[in-house]
């Protein structure tokens, strides 16, 4: 049986279930406890679980994320909220040198089962420093895992997998998805976990593959409907869900089916997840491509504030449709 939950509620339910499952799971971050979270993802959890399990921290991202890493080496399972993933910039050393490298540099003696989660997206009128899109940035570091769910069910299933994973997992949510609703399996029907590393076809199609992750999946699905309705193009939409591990097989499979690819990625165009996916496709499915791989990324500038124009900078259905149509 399935109920409808918002993306926000789905993550909260996942956190709540993991708090119940494992007494070593502890949530921490700025305003996650008494304030219920800046975006209310952790609403009610402090009241339910108390001071030990849900912890408000000072505005010291390097300090408390490093603290979580240290505690995890001893067996605690910290799930740390960055109020915005953009604030990774002040904790970067802890995120990429300590969390990513400590296992390696100790020859496998340490491990670091942390989750860092929070919203990572543009489109909310908060300007350039608050709108970084760091999936590709972190996936570039071996030792880290990254995922970016697009739907409530995926968000719940993946946050639970992330918490149980024994490696550092950076979990990228999206402010603009928090209010979206979708079906999520009922806990009464059993533990609902979606493994990292598994992409999902969100829409079957035959003419072109649109490959995306996070909110770009939702935009791609909207574009696919327009393509079908107005242009008779039947697009397949593949949701990566997890960036590292990455479901390369699923990527190659859809490419071999449609022979045409558009990648949709909220990153800036220099690099990002999509440049890597393009590299993999052209390397491993070269003979299956009928046209160059195209991308729809954010327009190459720091994120603009103006609400009048902000959504034009991001991938949106119109830009995706236009790009797909250039393939013909």
């Amino acid at each position: 049986m399935s109920r409808t939950l918002t993306y926000r509620e789905a993550i909260r339910e996942g956190l709540d279930e993991e708090l119940a499952r494992d007494p070593n799971v502890v949530l921490m971050g700025e305003e996650v406890a008494q304030y219920n979270g800046a975006y209310k993802v952790t609403q009610g959890l402090w009241e339910k679980w108390g001071d030990k399990r849900v912890v408000d921290t000072p505005i010291s991202e390097a300090g408390f994320i490093g603290m979580g890493i240290g505690a995890s080496m001893l067996g605690v399972r910290p799930v740390m909220e960055l109020m915005f993933w953009s604030f990774h910039s002040v904790a970067f050393d802890q995120l990429v040198s300590n969390a990513a490298c400590v296992r390696y540099m100790s020859g496998g003696l340490c491990n670091c089962p942390i989750v860092v989660r929070g919203p990572a997206n543009g489109g909310t009128g908060v300007g350039a420093t608050h709108s970084h899109i760091p999936e590709g940035l972190f996936a570039a570091f071996p030792g880290l895992k990254v995922c970016a769910p697009a739907t409530p069910a995926d968000a719940k299933g993946l946050i639970k997998a992330a918490i149980r994973d024994n490696d550092p997992v950076y979990f990228m949510e999206n402010t603009l998805l928090y209010g979206n609703s979708g079906e999520v399996p009922d806990p009464a029907d059993g533990d609902f976990v979606i493994p990292l590393g598994l992409a999902e076809i969100k829409r079957e199609g035959a003419d072109v593959s649109i490959i995306a992750h996070g909110r770009s999946v939702i935009q791609s699905l909207a574009a696919a409907e327009i393509l079908q309705r107005d242009h008779g193009v039947n697009a397949e939409v593949l949701d990566l869900r997890s960036i590292r591990p990455l479901d390369v097989d699923a990527i190659l499979k859809t490419v071999m089916k449609t022979n045409r690819v558009v990648l949709v990625d909220e990153s800036k165009p220099f690099g990002g997840v999509s440049a890597m996916v393009a590299m993999l496709i052209q390397e491993h499915a070269f003979d299956h491509l009928d046209a160059p791989i195209k991308r729809v990324c954010s327009i190459d500038a720091p994120a603009i504030y103006s609400p009048h124009i902000e959504h034009e900078q991001l991938p949106n259905p119109k830009r995706i449709v236009d790009k797909v149509l250039t393939l013909r």
């Binding site: 700025e30 305003e31 008494q34 304030y35 219920n36 800046a38 209310k40 408000d56 000072p58 505005i59 010291s60 390097a62 300090g63 953009s86 604030f87 910039s89 002040v90 909310t124 009128g125 908060v126 300007g127 350039a128 420093t129 608050h130 800036k268 165009p269 220099f270 195209k294 991308r295 327009i299 190459d300 500038a301 720091p302 603009i304 504030y305 103006s306 609400p307 009048h308 124009i309 902000e310 034009e312 900078q313």
Partner: protein, 358 residues
């Protein structure tokens, strides 16, 4: 927050305040009123859906920006965090360009690219408006370093919140400021809360936050932010120390914000009691306190005060109209103001690809 041991000295008699002409006093009062009325208008239109993102109101803290910035000379510079409307108007920016910025319009001070958190006016020595908590503290250090390097006798006032003191960048800045003898004055605007977290729940300290300066052998002081005279008197000492001796200071100015952390703050009334807010309005509101004072001094009348309020209200309403009628940026505007060389179409900008849109 206003500390219990608030001073009973009268700072009206400090030389820096005694030198104020009645006209200048009215001007300072007017500036505070303008900030308040501007923000009340901003709140109204934010709630009316005219703006994106956050709106962090400065209401209740006006004496800090107006008092400190009133001391600035040609070579004194200012930089603050995202709660920046008060400082912007105090340095002399117009309501129009500020309101238009929040509306995300081309006529905004940052062409609609920065928004409420990112007001700038380098021509008025105002360097923003910065969204990353304490991220501006090394920049303020650098502005002051620049002044010393370039041989200008000035200082930089760098503002931050009580929650921001727990960011590493601030600590690094303090050590460098003391070590290098940098003319920077850090002003902690202590409104008692960082979002929903009280000072006690975010900071470990000895007496007060400014006292952290002692760790670096930096001078510090605590100021009652509801008294514009006190703000001016004590900040002036720090600025002179910076300008003349190239020595930094940390000032903690106790103040209060009436509203939530931002307008989106759903819990503003949960972590503070209505009594707490009411007490502040009655007894510590910097505008009311200064108004009473100026009336007692015979400088201001109630009538004049009313007309100042009315003028400010009108000016704010006009700025909203200006903003509303201004053109929005175009898609092409997204791609400018990224590189100086490209914006100036220099030879360097012609070589290689700077942008990677297809």
């Amino acid at each position: 927050m206003i500390s219990a041991t608030s001073s009973t000295l009268d700072f009206a008699s400090s030389p820096i305040n005694r030198s104020l002409t009645p006209a200048r006093k009215i001007e300072l009062f007017t500036q505070m009123v303008r900030i308040r009325r501007f923000e009340q208008a901003a709140l109204k239109y934010y709630n009316g859906g005219k703006m994106g993102g956050f709106l962090h109101l400065y209401i209740g803290q006006e004496a800090v920006a107006v008092g400190t910035i009133s001391l600035g000379g040609a070579d004194d510079h200012f930089i603050t965090a995202y709660r920046d409307h008060g400082h912007a108007l105090a340095v002399g920016m117009g309501m129009n360009e500020c309101m238009a910025e929040m509306y995300g319009k081309q006529t905004g001070c940052s062409k609609g690219k920065g928004g409420s958190m990112h007001f700038f006016a380098p021509d008025k020595n105002f360097w923003g408006g910065h969204g990353i908590v304490a991220g501006q503290t090394p920049l303020g250090l650098g502005l002051a370093y620049g002044l010393k390097y370039l041989g200008r006798e000035g200082c930089c006032l760098c503002y931050l919140g009580d929650g921001a003191v727990n960011q590493g960048a601030f600590h690094e800045s303090l050590n460098i400021a003391a070590l290098f003898g940098i003319p920077v004055v850090y002003i902690i605007e202590n409104n008692g809360y960082s979002m929903g977290t009280s000072q006690e729940r975010s900071s470990a300290y000895n007496g007060c936050l400014a006292q952290r300066a002692e760790a670096y052998a930096i001078e510090w002081d605590v100021i009652d932010g509801s008294d514009l005279y006190e703000v001016r008197a004590k900040t002036q000492i720090a600025m002179e120390r910076a300008r003349k001796e190239h020595k930094p200071t940390v000032l903690e100015i106790d103040t209060y914000r009436y509203y939530g952390h931002s307008v989106a703050d759903s819990r503003a009334k949960k972590y503070r009691t209505p009594e707490e807010i009411e007490d502040y309005k009655l007894n510590h509101d910097p505008i009311t306190v200064f108004e009473r004072r100026l009336i007692a001094e015979g400088v201001l009348t109630e009538e004049l005060s009313k007309s100042i309020h009315q003028d400010a209200k009108n000016e704010a309403a006009a700025s909203a109209k200006f903003a509303d009628e201004s053109p929005a940026p175009t898609v092409a505007d997204i791609s400018t103001d990224i590189y100086w060389e490209s914006d100036h179409n220099t030879p360097a900008s012609q070589i290689g690809h700077h942008f990677f849109n297809d």
